[in-house]
Each structure stands twice: as structure tokens, then as C-alpha cells.
């Protein structure tokens, strides 16, 4: 990669680009490594807390805070019944489930009505604290008094969440995707953090791919590896994103995203920032950013925490087309949010979030597809021009690959230590293989999709696209 012409302008540019790539590589690798270590520290502390306190006293003492679970659903007839069943069997003293069918065109409402004996009720209790699309019908279960179904006009996920927020009666709200299922103790372990510290306004939990697992009576009975490599590779990605990235960021108090699939918030805090923003596909990140903004602007004490254990199992795309569409949407959501909150960039008023978190998201998360693809193009050009130092390139590339592998393996190791979900050695070996082969095409395809998404942000603003569901086994 190292050239020999340092006198001409092209030579200068060439050298500059090499330094840029090297600096970028060092920044990304060092930050990921440190975040992984911070993540491990927080996870070890969490383990200690849970083994020391246990959650029994919380139940014994009634100091828990009641929770409203908000479930936005759009064309989820295949998975909604299992999903609601899983929510109904959660171990928590007081909670209600509000499922919002956001103008579903399939049988989402009908299957729910039939399965849970839902009867229509009047709209008396509904008050639009946050503006949202009108409600068509409201149902309540005869068998499960804490289950409510809302049928409304289509307005997007954020709009559905706002409707559910308006209906929610309890001080804590938990947003859960309709294609997800929660661990039975997920709410107890998350709500505990709100009891421990009054300044906690939001808590994000770990989300894991559900594909291949077996659900019985709403509960996950066996975690099995999914059949396709696309799904397996996503398990490695999720592990890295949650145990290394988010756990690490939360440790230094600048967690900027709580997954839409599972997050618990103080209702009054969400209402204070105006609920979910409807004109974005990254409403989960936007909410957390606005919470940061609100509390930092008003100089109020607050904490946004991440807890590694409360598990939400979600269905991930099983084909490349859907996966690409999903990643495209995620990256557009990221850009939309960064642009919306651009005033936070290097703004000391927003503390570490403005000085570290947001610049990092611009530089490493949003710009990475352009820089990485630029690196590949640069590499090919250097080969074509015959100015490549093969020996240095070999070491550089080997180190880069090993670095990626080390990061993935560290996260998988944390997961093994914490959860021990995959019991068979063969499953764990397959994980390791997945981490090893991730950079052989899979990473590049998604990189290209994210790169494309960077240019589609304005054209496709707020567009979700569809996802093919297989439903739970």
C-alpha cells in the first residue's frame, strides 16, 4: 500500500489518503477494543448485582413500578399470538399489554380477537396527550384483563407507539416489537434499575436473534442455531453490537440508542420530550437522543442505562434481500437522526454525548461505509498502478482481519460467560466459524447497502419497507 512518489500533488494526496485510512483504522479498532472491555466490566458488575441482590426482595416488598408494555404491530398475523402469549406469561406483579395494530392489512386483529377473546369497548379512556392518527376500535380481553388491542389508521411504528403511550396507565412503559418475545424475568430485572436509582429514565436490554429457537406456551424452551448462514452471521453481529458496543457506551454514560425491539422508559420522560417522532425510521435512536437533549438542556439529573441480561428474542431476516432492506433502513435512520440532532455535534452544552458520542456516530457509524469502500477502491487502484508494497499490505490486512475476529470473539466470549444459552459444543464452534467467515463477502454486501442508504436518506425519508415473517416455531 505504500507508494514511492512523494513529490507530486498526486503523491501527496496518495500519502494523505494512506494516513487517513490508517488513522481511521486505529481509531475504530482502539475504540471498539476499549468499548468491549468496558462492556465486560459493566456485565461483570451486573452479574454481581444480580447475585447479591436477587430480584426476590423487589417482589416481596412491592416497591416495583407497574409497567405498560407497548406493542406496535403491522401485518404480524404469523407471530403476534406467540408474541402476546410470551408477554402475558412474564413474571411481573403489575403490567398491562397494549397491542396497536397500525392499519394492518392481514389478519392481525382477527387472530388476536379470536385467540384472546377480545371484545370491543368504548374510547372513553382515550386522551390524545401526544398527537397521533385516530383510533378506529379498541378491544379488551375477556380472559386477560391486562390485554388491550387498538386498531388504528396506518401511521407508522412511531405513531402506533404514541397511541399506546396515550393509552398507557403506568409510570413505566416498555416498547416491544410484535415479532419479539421476552425472557420471563426481563421486566423484573430491568425495572429493578428504576427502583435502585430514581434518576434512571430509560433502560435498554439485550436483543438476540430468535430464528431456529423453539417457543412453547409463549416461552422460549430451546435455543437452537438457525439453519442458514445469514441468520448465524447476524447472531455474531448482535452479540458484538450489544455486549461490546452498547454495554461499553452505557458504562461511560453516553448510550445513544435503545433498541426499538426492547426498551423500558419512564412514561413522564417520554411525554416530556413529546413521544416518538413519526417522520423517521430511526425513532428508537431519536427518542434516546431527545431524552439526552432534554435532560442536559434543563440540567436535570438523569441516567440512560443498559442491562445485558434482560433478553428480548426477535426474528431476524432469513434472506439476503430482507436483510439488505433492513440494514438500509437502519443506516437511513442513523443519518436522519444525526442530521436532526446536528446541533449536538461538538456542543459542550451536551457534555460527553455532544463531545464524544455524537462525533463518534458521525465519524465511525455513519461515515464508515464511505471510508471502508474508499479503502477497497484505493487498494484496487494501487494494485492496478503497481505501487503496492505487498509485504506491508499483507501485514496490514492480516492485522485488520485478526482485529475484527478478536472483537467478535470477545463478544461471543462475554455471551458464553453470561448466558450459556448454546449448550452444544458444535453450536459454539459454528459461532466461531461464523465470526471467522463474516468478512468473506457478508460484511462487504452490507457495507455496500449502507453506502447506498447514505444517498437514499432524503428520497426514502420515513419509509420502512416490508419484512417477510416466518413466525415462531
Amino acid at each position: 500500500m505504500v507508494g514511492n512518489d512523494s513529490l507530486t500533488i498526486w503523491g501527496g494526496l496518495y500519502l494523505f489518503f494512506q494516513y487517513l485510512i490508517l488513522a481511521y483504522f486505529v481509531l475504530v479498532s482502539a475504540s471498539y477494543t476499549l468499548l468491549t472491555y468496558l462492556g465486560l466490566r459493566s456485565i461483570l458488575r451486573y452479574n454481581r448485582v444480580m447475585s447479591s441482590y436477587a430480584i426476590k426482595p423487589l417482589l416481596e416488598s412491592q416497591a416495583y413500578r407497574a409497567i405498560s408494555i407497548l406493542v406496535p404491530a403491522y401485518n404480524e398475523e404469523k407471530s403476534i399470538i406467540a408474541s402476546v402469549r410470551s408477554l402475558l406469561s412474564l413474571h411481573y406483579p403489575v403490567f398491562e399489554i397494549i397491542v396497536v395494530s397500525d392499519g394492518s392489512r392481514d389478519g392481525t386483529v382477527d387472530v388476536l380477537r379470536e385467540a384472546y377473546h377480545l371484545t370491543e369497548i368504548s374510547l372513553t379512556r382515550y386522551h390524545m396527550t401526544i398527537n397521533a392518527k385516530p383510533i378506529k376500535r379498541l378491544f379488551r380481553s375477556v380472559n386477560y384483563p391486562n390485554l388491550i388491542l387498538v386498531e388504528k389508521e396506518n401511521g407508522g411504528k412511531a405513531d402506533a407507539l404514541n397511541v399506546a403511550l396515550n393509552l398507557a396507565r403506568y409510570p413505566l412503559v416498555c416498547s416491544v416489537d410484535a415479532d419479539s418475545t421476552l425472557d420471563v424475568q426481563a421486566l423484573l430485572r430491568t425495572a429493578y434499575l428504576f427502583v435502585e436509582d430514581e434518576t434512571v429514565v430509560a433502560v435498554g436490554g439485550t436483543v438476540r436473534p430468535l430464528n431456529g429457537a423453539i417457543i412453547q406456551d409463549g416461552q422460549l424452551v430451546e435455543v437452537r442455531l438457525p439453519p442458514t448462514w445469514i441468520e448465524r452471521l447476524q447472531i455474531v453481529e448482535y452479540s458484538r453490537a450489544f455486549f461490546a458496543g452498547r454495554a461499553g457506551w452505557a458504562e461511560i454514560g453516553i448510550l445513544m440508542i435503545i433498541s426499538g425491539a426492547f426498551g423500558v422508559f419512564k412514561r413522564e420522560s417520554v411525554l416530556a420530550v413529546g413521544g416518538y417522532r413519526t417522520n423517521t425510521v430511526g425513532e428508537d435512536m431519536d427518542l434516546v437522543m431527545r431524552l439526552h437533549k432534554y435532560y442536559l438542556r434543563h440540567k436535570l439529573p438523569y441516567q440512560i442505562r443498559f442491562t445485558p441480561d434482560p433478553l428480548c428474542w426477535t426474528e431476524v431476516p432469513s434472506d439476503l434481500k430482507t436483510l439488505r432492506r433492513q440494514r438500509n433502513r437502519w443506516h437511513r435512520g442513523l443519518w436522519e437522526n444525526l442530521w436532526e440532532h446536528r446541533d449536538m455535534l461538538f456542543n459542550p452544552r451536551y457534555g460527553l454525548v455532544g463531545l464524544v458520542g455524537v462525533p463518534y456516530a458521525w465519524l465511525v457509524e455513519a461515515a464508515s461505509p464511505a471510508v471502508e469502500l474508499g479503502g477497497y477502491v484505493f487498494f484496487l487502484l494501487s494494485i492496478l498502478l503497481g505501487i503496492l508494497n505487498l509485504e506491508f499490505t499483507f501485514y496490514f490486512m492480516s492485522l485488520a482481519i485478526l482485529f475484527g475476529l478478536v472483537l467478535s470473539l470477545m463478544s461471543i466470549g462475554i455471551e458464553t460467560l453470561l448466558l450459556n444459552r448454546y449448550k452444544r459444543i458444535s453450536d459454539r464452534l459454528i459461532f466461531i466459524v461464523a465470526a471467522c467467515v463474516e468478512f468473506l463477502g457478508y460484511r462487504q454486501i452490507l457495507l455496500w447497502e449502507r453506502f447506498r442508504a447514505s444517498f437514499q436518506v432524503w428520497g426514502k425519508r420515513g419509509q420502512w419497507g416490508s419484512m417477510e415473517r416466518k413466525g415462531f416455531r
Binding site: F25, T33, L34, T124, R169, F392, Y395, L402, G413
Partner: protein, 407 residues
């Protein structure tokens, strides 16, 4: 035990990996810089080779951990469970078949089995186990653990003391409530409450209670956890709460959990004491006071003059709790205020008022129907018309469902 060791071990591995990887990055940068500074002459890649080699070693260590840790862990868990069962059996034999006592010192699994069995047994059998705890001087072992500099040891000692509930260990446990570590403070407070519950003839002026309260006031325990801890054991909490109420003044961050605990434990006899804080200036505390009074079903005479003020407070939660408190009065007394709050500026308060009226039964329903015809405020007419129903019938089942839990 094994898991704790496993965690430490992985922590060490990861720390080593982080150091190695950061060093590898430094090697990469230095090689790159040296190469350019030397005009392409410097071609020593030794650092990079070392970096690659050590990275490979890190990968092998991580793979080894991922593959074998669960296996080793399962093996140890299985062994531990087997030993635990054997020790449970052995203690049973000691108690009921008068077998010989196991020799000192006891392994940790034996102690755990002993404490678990102690928690299950009551009366004479439990006191026999107490004598075993004394015989093996386990309290001394735990008290020593409390002095350890290692956090894990202190937490383990507190957990064991909580299970053992030995009154003589209370002062040492209370000392831990001043620890710099939040986990230790919370665990110590919980342990102390459990121990207090085991102290015979406990009353608010008991030396142990006074000591606990004095420590609690100075210790920084988060309000939510304090509420949880004070609501754990009714036997200990009643004298503690009484003692706390007897104090001259309580800071707001302590007052709120104390009052909430009274509500959690449904201590009706303390309702009058709670009511004395009804005009506290801190809104959050005032909300808790009102909430607890509603829970206890007690309408204090002091509330009547300030109820209207509460209904129109800027804090919505206070408005709602005021309506709920009004519900505790007979309808003829609460009627004027409820009628007025039907036309409240806030939708939530209007809605809550209708629910309150419906809970009065036919008379309340009649008042809702009257509001549809006669109320001067259009918003009141609108909310009442949504609930208009036949006063001769029982409350609409759907509406009854909506009444739900008071939060």
C-alpha cells in the same frame, strides 16, 4: 464460586487481549511512520510480526474460553449440586438421627446447606441449627469477611449473615451501611432489617431499632431501594417506621420511601402520622402521602381545608390523588367538590372524577346523568355524557374494568 472464578479469569484474558491489541495498533502505526520517514528504506516488520503472532494467541485463548468454559462450568455446577445434596442429607442426619457432627472447618457448600435448612426449619429444630452455627463459629468467619478489602467477600459475608439472621452481628452489619460502595450499603441495610425481624420483643425504643434508624438517616441508600428494604419485614418495619416518625424532622429523600413503605405494608395504624405530612412542600412527597392515604382508606380531617387547593395544583398527580382522596368521603360531603372538578381544566382530572362518582353506585351515576343536563361547563357535560348510564343498573362492567389499579 466457580462462576465467580470464571468471570475473573475471563476478565484477565480480556484485559490481556486489550493490551495486546492496543500494542499491535501501536506497532502498525510506528512501522508505517518509520517507513515514510526513512523514504521507503525502513522495511523491518518485526513489530508487525510480533503483533500478528500475539493476536493469534489472543484468538486461540478466546476460542478456548468460548468452547470449553461452558463445559467446565457445567461440570463444576453438577459437582457442586451433588455435594450440596449430600450436605443437606448429612445435616438432616445430624439433626434427626443424631449422627456425629462434621469436623471443622466446614466447606462453603456445607455452610450454604446448613443455612438453607435453617431457613426451612422453625422452632426447636431451627434453634438446634443455631447452635451449630455457634459451634462452628460461622459468625466469626463472616464478620471477618466483612472486614475484607475485596468487595465480593464482603457481599458474600453480608448474604450469609442475612440468611443466618444472628442478632449479635447487627453492629458489624450496620457499620457496612456507611460503605462507599452502593451495593454493600444496600445489602447491609437489607441484612440489618432481616436481623431486626429476628430480634425478640422489638419496639420503637429498642436499642437495636434506634441504632438502625440512626445509621439509616446518615447512610446514603437510594429512595427506591429504601422503600423496598423497609417493606420487606413487617415485624421489623413497624418499629423502625414508628421510630422514624418520632424524629423531629426527616429529609424529603428519606420521608418519601418511609411513607411509601407504610402504604406497601398497609399499616393503617400509621395513617394519622402519614397525614401530618399532607402539606409538605415537596410535590413528589405530597403525591406519595395522598397515594398512601388512599391506599389506607383514611381521610384525615386536616385534608379538607386544603383539598380544593390540591385539586387545582399545577401538579397533575396531586390533582388526581386529591380526587381519589375525595372518594373516601360520603357523597353528600364530597359532592360539591366532585361536581366542580367535573369541569376541571384537565381531561385526566375530569375522567378521574367520573370514575370516582361511578364508584359511589346509583347515587354517583345519578349525579353523572345530572351533569349531562345541568353542568355549566361544556367539558364536564361532554365527559359525563360518555359515561351516562341507567342509575338503576349496576356499574357498567367495562367501566368497572377501567377503574383498574390505582398507581
Amino acid at each position: 464460586m466457580w462462576r465467580r472464578l470464571g468471570s475473573y479469569f475471563y476478565h484477565v484474558i480480556l484485559l490481556a487481549v486489550v493490551v495486546v491489541e492496543l500494542a499491535a495498533l501501536a506497532a502498525l502505526v510506528s512501522t508505517f511512520v518509520f517507513y515514510f520517514r526513512s523514504g521507503g528504506v525502513f522495511t523491518d516488520y518485526t513489530f508487525l510480526k510480533i503483533a500478528l503472532g500475539t493476536s493469534l494467541l489472543c484468538i486461540l485463548a478466546l476460542i478456548f474460553h468460548t468452547v470449553f468454559y461452558p463445559e467446565i462450568s457445567d461440570h463444576f455446577d453438577f459437582r457442586h449440586d451433588r455435594q450440596y445434596q449430600a450436605w443437606l442429607q448429612r445435616w438432616t442426619n445430624v439433626l434427626f438421627k443424631l449422627e456425629d457432627l462434621p469436623p471443622k472447618p466446614l466447606p462453603p457448600v456445607a455452610v450454604k446447606a446448613l443455612l438453607d435448612q435453617r431457613a426451612l426449619l422453625i422452632g426447636t429444630d431451627a434453634s438446634l441449627l443455631d447452635s451449630l452455627v455457634a459451634f462452628y463459629q460461622l459468625d466469626q468467619q463472616w464478620l471477618k469477611g466483612l472486614k475484607s478489602r475485596r468487595l465480593d467477600r464482603r457481599l458474600a459475608a453480608l448474604a450469609a449473615l442475612e440468611a443466618a439472621v444472628l442478632p449479635q452481628t447487627l453492629p458489624a452489619v450496620l457499620a457496612q451501611m456507611h460503605s462507599r460502595n452502593l451495593l454493600v450499603r444496600i445489602s447491609a441495610a437489607r441484612c440489618a432489617v432481616r436481623i431486626l425481624a429476628a430480634v425478640p420483643d422489638l419496639h420503637p425504643r429498642h436499642k437495636a431499632v434506634l441504632l438502625f434508624v440512626r445509621t439509616l438517616v446518615k447512610a446514603r441508600v437510594p429512595a427506591g431501594m429504601l422503600e423496598s428494604i423497609l417493606s420487606l419485614e413487617v415485624r421489623a418495619s413497624v418499629p423502625i417506621l414508628e421510630c422514624l416518625f418520632q424524629r423531629q424532622s426527616l429529609p424529603a429523600d428519606l420521608l418519601q420511601p418511609v411513607i411509601a413503605a407504610v402504604g406497601n405494608l398497609r399499616l393503617v395504624e400509621m395513617a394519622a402520622k402519614v397525614a401530618t405530612y399532607i402539606e409538605t412542600p415537596v410535590p413528589a412527597v405530597r403525591v406519595t402521602v395522598l397515594q398512601v392515604l388512599v391506599k389506607l382508606g383514611y381521610f384525615p380531617p386536616a385534608a379538607w381545608p386544603v383539598l380544593r387547593q390540591f385539586l387545582y395544583d399545577t401538579n397533575l398527580a396531586i390533582n388526581l390523588q386529591a380526587v381519589r382522596l375525595l372518594m373516601l368521603l360520603p357523597l353528600e360531603r364530597s359532592k360539591p367538590l366532585l361536581w366542580e372538578s367535573l369541569g376541571h381544566l384537565r381531561w385526566e382530572v375530569r375522567c378521574e372524577t367520573v370514575f370516582a362518582l361511578l364508584q359511589y353506585g346509583p347515587l354517583g351515576i345519578q349525579l353523572v346523568n345530572e351533569a349531562v343536563q345541568e353542568h355549566p361547563v361544556p367539558a364536564a357535560v361532554q365527559i359525563a355524557s360518555q359515561f351516562q348510564t341507567n342509575p338503576g343498573l349496576p356499574i357498567n362492567a367495562r367501566v368497572q374494568e377501567w377503574l383498574g389499579t390505582i398507581v
